[in-house]
């Protein structure tokens, strides 16, 4: 952790870390602490007095079916997005891993969507699947599907999931490709000589050796689904119809906007914080155990 060689200045190191510490304290810890604090408070209707209510806000949250539904919904979305995006990205990465002409071109053509912002993603997909003028919507109607995400909650959810998964494909693809390329070629060759056909090789050798990457990406995708989808949801469905696409983070936003229950909104934020911390901690603990060759 520490270099052998180092400087002995007394004040300089503090001066060097000061800017970052300042920013971090003011814009990270202070708001985070505020959120935690506020989650234990209850403001009256006029915002005039606040009382310390311990975990009442939390208890109230958990007793709301709305909140519980949002939790379930968020997890369902996350897994759906993660699973679909990861599978497709893995397929593409496996195809791209061969020595082939134009390898870099494929990579370039597949990674640029990373740069597309969530709201833009939302706009693009809304355009394609808009019930009245979207091209894909037309196709769906021609196939006999009654496509109207403005009214059908499940279809709206599907819309969000598709758009979010689409955006993540390139990120996952990149990491899968890197992971595949770090598997020594000789191990694959040994498996081939040992009588394993391509499919068997994939499931018995490549997939297990890829598992740290898969696990890492799973966590990243879930965190992404929790938070980065905000822009997508806000542009596509605004949480609707009703609350059909309202994820936890969106709910925080909406509840906070509507004002009133600052305590409840803060409690929601704190719960989100805990979830993320847990996920990140899990990721660090498990991903740190790298596979040695």
């Amino acid at each position: 952790m520490q270099k052998q060689a180092s400087f002995q200045s007394k004040l300089l190191p503090y001066a060097l870390v000061a800017p970052q510490l300042a920013v971090v304290l003011i814009f990270f810890y202070w708001p985070a602490a505020q959120a935690v604090l506020q989650s234990f408070l209850l403001q009256d209707a006029f915002g005039l007095s606040t009382t310390f209510v311990w975990f009442d806000n939390y208890r109230e949250l958990f007793s709301q079916p709305d909140y519980f539904a949002a939790v379930v919904r968020t997890f369902v979305f996350s897994f759906a997005i993660a699973f679909s995006s990861l599978s497709f990205a893995l397929l593409l990465a496996v195809m791209a891993d061969r020595p082939m002409r134009g390898g870099t071109i494929y990579r370039t053509l597949l990674i640029w969507p990373y740069a597309v912002a969530p709201p833009v993603v939302g706009v693009l997909w809304v355009f394609m699947l808009n019930p009245s003028l979207g091209i894909l919507a037309r196709g769906l109607r021609d196939m006999g599907v009654d496509w109207n995400p403005l009214l059908n909650g499940n279809q709206a959810a599907l819309l969000v999931i598709l758009a979010a998964a689409w955006k993540q494909i390139s990120y996952n693809f990149l990491f899968f490709l890197a992971g595949l390329q770090s598997i020594p070629k000789s191990v694959i060759e040994a498996a081939a000589i040992d009588g394993a056909r391509p499919m068997r090789r994939f499931w018995t050798v490549i997939f297990p050796l890829l598992s740290p990457t898969i696990f890492f990406l799973l966590v990243v995708n879930i965190v992404y689904a929790f938070f980065d989808t905000f822009g997508i949801i806000d542009t596509m469905t605004r949480g609707g119809p009703g609350t059909a696409t309202q994820t936890l983070v969106y709910k925080v936003y909406v509840d906070g906007l509507l004002g009133g229950n600052l305590g409840g909104s803060a409690a929601q934020s704190v719960i989100l914080m805990i979830i993320v911390i847990l996920l990140t901690a899990v990721q660090f603990r498990f991903v740190e155990r790298k596979v040695n060759y």
């Binding site: 970052q20 969530p118 394609m128 091209i135 936003y253 914080m273």
Partner: protein, 282 residues
């Protein structure tokens, strides 16, 4: 291997092209739409080939804005995004590199504690602390300002971690040789460490710039004036609930323009970008 020949190779190419098509299709569509006439689009009659309205649509988009929700020309919104993204990228790199330098190359009390304090910020994205952060920014009178847009997003540790990891791989002998040559902390940093860190900085810049450019929720909250909007907010505001009012060509043109800078950066700096991405996440 022998089996790699023949059908397996074609299959790989086919699958990859399907992937590329899926990935590119929505964007292609957007581009097409930005060159067509609004009436045609609204009727659902849009063709799959570019129309003739390229120049006028883009001109209107960049310099005039829609007649609907926002009168802000996209050009100025892009400028805001540019400033914000650059501030975030540069700001983050600047404070992180000196922090990492201090943590790796100096011995001082509370070093580890400070490291952990900074490290923990990795865990929480800004969406989780939006309202309290909003209040603080408001209290500091930083609403509707570039500082307010960028500062909260600089407060996380990814860059510090990356620099720290990189510094750990720099051989000790370099520092020792430097010292023997009479260099103090500043000289060592400026003359030796900084040039070595150039590729890392470039890679980070790419990632952070894109991150900043694509920010949505935070700018949404703290900008109230039309002329401080970023392009992500702009594009959002253009989608109104009633289809009849949406000027699709302009919206799509905005989308295309919103994508251009980050995509351009990614494509041009591809190798750096990939490397930076893979490094920051470890």
């Amino acid at each position: 291997m022998v089996e790699q020949e023949g059908i397996q190779r074609y299959l790989a190419h086919v699958v990859l092209w399907i992937g590329i098509a899926i990935v590119a299709f929505p964007v292609y569509l957007a581009f097409i739409a930005s060159t067509q006439d609004n009436a045609v689009i609204a009727n659902g009659q849009m063709s799959l080939l570019p129309g003739g309205h390229f120049l006028e649509t883009y001109y209107q988009t960049i310099f005039v804005g829609t007649s609907g929700s926002t009168r802000e020309p996209v050009g100025s919104m892009m400028l805001n995004s540019l400033i914000m993204a650059t501030l975030i990228a540069v700001g983050k790199i600047a404070i992180s590199i000196i922090s990492a330098y201090a943590i790796v190359y100096f011995r001082f009390p509370f070093r580890m504690a400070i490291f952990w304090v900074i490290f923990i910020t990795l865990m929480l994205p800004v969406e989780v602390r939006i309202y309290p952060t909003y209040k603080i920014v408001a209290d500091l009178h930083l609403l509707d300002s570039y500082a307010g847009l960028s500062l909260p997003l600089i407060a996380s540790a990814t860059a510090t971690l990356l620099f720290r990891q990189f510094f750990m791989t720099v051989p000790d002998e370099l520092l020792e040789a430097s010292r023997i040559d009479g260099a103090g902390p500043f000289r060592f940093f400026w003359d030796t460490l900084l040039p070595l860190s150039r590729t890392n900085m470039a890679a980070l810049f790419v990632i952070l710039f894109i991150l900043g450019w694509n920010q949505y929720l935070w700018p949404l909250l703290i900008t109230t004036r039309d002329d401080m909007q970023t392009i992500q907010i702009g594009i959002r505001k253009m989608i109104t609930t009633t289809d009849a009012l949406t000027e699709w060509p302009i919206v799509m043109a905005t989308a295309v323009l919103a994508m251009l800078p980050p995509v351009f950066v990614v494509v041009v700096m591809q190798r750096l970008f990939v490397r930076g991405l893979v490094e920051t996440e470890k």
